[in-house]
Amino acid sequence: MQRLNNKLGLFSALPMLSILAIAFFAPLLVVAIFSSMPPKVFTLTHIPDFSAYSVFFQQGFYRSLLWSLGAAFISTVILLVVCWPLAFGMAKIFKSFTLVLTIAVVMSLFVSENIRLFGWVLTLMKGGLIEGHMRAWLGIGFDSPLYGVPVIVFGLVYAYLPFMLFPLAQGIATVPDDARQAAADLGASRWQIFAQIDVPLAAPGIVVGCLLCFVLSAGAVAESKILGGQAIITITDDIETAFTFGQDWPLGSALSVIFIAIVSVFALLAISVVDLDKIMGRKR
């Protein structure tokens, strides 16, 4: 009876599952097929020649990809370092203050990312909130930190902080206090507790946070455009240009496919090394 019920459940879910599968895979499939088309065509009725992929190397698009991945990697590392103490506090120390902190961080997400980044432009620009006040009150002026690589990384760290903080706090919350206390009783140093108890047991949270931040930062374009003055051209920017001003849909599709493939490899590798069920709370 239980087996029959399970089967009926699956059968009932089939129509919705197929709609979801089509909705998810159909656009990806169209992009994949487009990427095989000859340059500058707008239909899928041509003979595939995969020429768009060779352009990736010939015209140096790999440089944009490396910039995107590099900036994403650096910002993810910074986020991990910055968020760890905060997440530890939220999970183990702050008690009711954790709720205040959570609301404060979540509220920042209510405002569009572009508007928040533009707020930073007004804060950091020459004559802006900081430099303008410094010049008016103290007579000290300085060049704005805008339009460079460091401010782009800053923007990524700022924009994706919640995506690291919450999974990390969730991961740290799953570390049993007993294990930490037992290790301390047995003479483990703080560093040993951190390296041998906290990090391994919080690994699912660390991986989920890093994965979210890395994938989102690698596909980000607003930070480079708004704060960085396009000091680096990201791969997303190149994809957008190929589809719009370049009017080369196959090239845009090929760049998208390469990007999706690389990010997917990272994602699959990451989730294969940890037990996600643990942080998702599924009973075993």
Binding site: F42, Q59, G127, G128, Y147, F245
Partner: protein
């Protein structure tokens, strides 16, 4: 009281859902689309200030307008099959004749209805060639326009000096790190050709491609910032981060000027490599989309926006402020005050137009945009 059971409710919902889904298929055969109008346009035409009077004149009609962020974006929508969604498309002048009309995405307008409007336009638009196809069909109506070359802060670089120096201003080593590049990429390709002393509207090949490459690299190399946001660029210009920006015109400078920053000025070079001209002018054309299920409101709307009140609103809606060719009509001109005319640089508009080339399709665009994007990445 009518009690509806859960089962009845579900079956009725399913029937309604099915009818709605079916409706979308049978629509073209039964529905009358003359009560709908969908406009794909640059910002401005989608303003309620322009749409509401038309809605009031056509009660019961659903009038909707969506603004695009670039010409290619909007054209992509039609190519991707949205010809059966839109009734009017408003893009810059070369696209209609060179791409939209040959690809059957737009259709000719009624000449008897629209040709008389040209009589009231400014002199340079009375017989505007790009509004017509080679076969003589009228394929779009011009309205907003503006010289588009570059913008300077006249407190730092005088208008006379900028006009005399022209595009070479951006190759001057003294300007390194003192200007921005507004990444309207198709415009930049054109302007970098002019900076390199090349004609963007004639094929560029051989060593000229190398000249274009080195010019593009020099300009990107010396740029302090790149952005596609004209507000961010104007702010950087006003607060002294930069003293000029590559690619800009009345379209980008007017919001800052209308806000009181009259030191932000669009510049048209005095000379250039194509027939002595170095500036370029854009002119928007609004065309009727070749919708398989057309709406008669499309031409009605196009007719309506030629009127004085609507023309003024098109020129001065939110966002950017631009001259309109209907300013040849004294009734339209009378609606502008001195401040508004100063924002759109009316004092020099005619001479700037005389020094400007028509924005055409860039002959070697495919090769040049490749070099351009490569230079941008480097």
């Amino acid at each position: 009281m009518d009690q509806t059971s859960r089962r009845q409710f579900l079956s009725r919902t399913a029937a309604l859902g099915g009818a709605a889904a079916l409706g979308s298929f049978i629509d073209p055969a039964f529905a009358d689309r003359n009560d709908q109008l969908n406009i794909l346009c640059w910002e401005g035409y989608n303003s309620d200030a322009i749409l509401d009077p038309f809605r009031e004149a056509n009660p019961g009609a659903t009038v909707r307008a969506e603004s695009g962020t670039s010409d290619p974006d909007m054209i992509n929508k039609l190519r991707a099959g949205e010809v059966n969604v839109w009734d009017l498309i408003n893009v810059n002048q070369p696209w209609a004749r060179d791409q939209l009309y040959p690809e059957n995405l737009i259709k000719p307008l009624d000449k008897d209805r629209f040709l008389p409007h040209f009589e009231k336009m400014l002199p340079e638009f009375k017989n505007y060639p790009l509004a017509f196809d080679d076969d003589g069909s009228l394929i779009g109506m011009p309205q907003r326009y503006g010289p588009f070359s570059f913008v300077v802060n006249t407190d730092v670089i005088s208008r006379e000096m900028a006009e005399d120096q022209g595009w070479s201003l951006f190759l001057d080593p003294a300007m390194s790190d003192r200007y921005g590049v507004l990444t309207y990429d198709n415009w930049n390709v054109m302007h970098m050709c002019l900076t390199a002393g090349l004609n963007p509207f004639a094929p560029v090949a051989g060593t000229d491609l190398d000249t274009f490459r080195s010019t593009a690299e020099t300009i990107f190399g010396g740029a302090k910032l790149l952005t596609d946001d004209l507000v961010a660029m104007n702010i950087a210009l006003i607060n002294g981060e930069i003293d000029a920006y590559f690619t800009g015109g009345t379209y980008t400078a007017s919001p800052a000027r209308y806000d009181g920053a009259s030191n932000v000025r669009a510049i048209t070079p005095n000379s250039g490599p194509v027939d002595g001209k170095g500036g370029v002018v854009w002119i928007e054309l609004t065309s009727a989309v070749n919708n398989p299920d057309p709406s008669s409101l499309a031409e009605d709307f196009l007719d309506y926006v030629q009127g004085p009140e609507a023309s003024k609103k098109v020129a001065f809606t939110e966002g950017t402020y631009n001259p309109v060719c209907q300013m040849g009509n004294p009734e339209v001109m009378a609606l502008f005050d001195a401040e508004e005319l100063d924002a759109i640089q009316m004092d020099s508009l005619a001479e700037e137009m005389a020094r400007s080339l028509d924005y055409e399709v860039i002959a070697s665009y495919d090769e040049l945009i490749e070099i351009y994007t490569q230079a941008r990445r480097s």
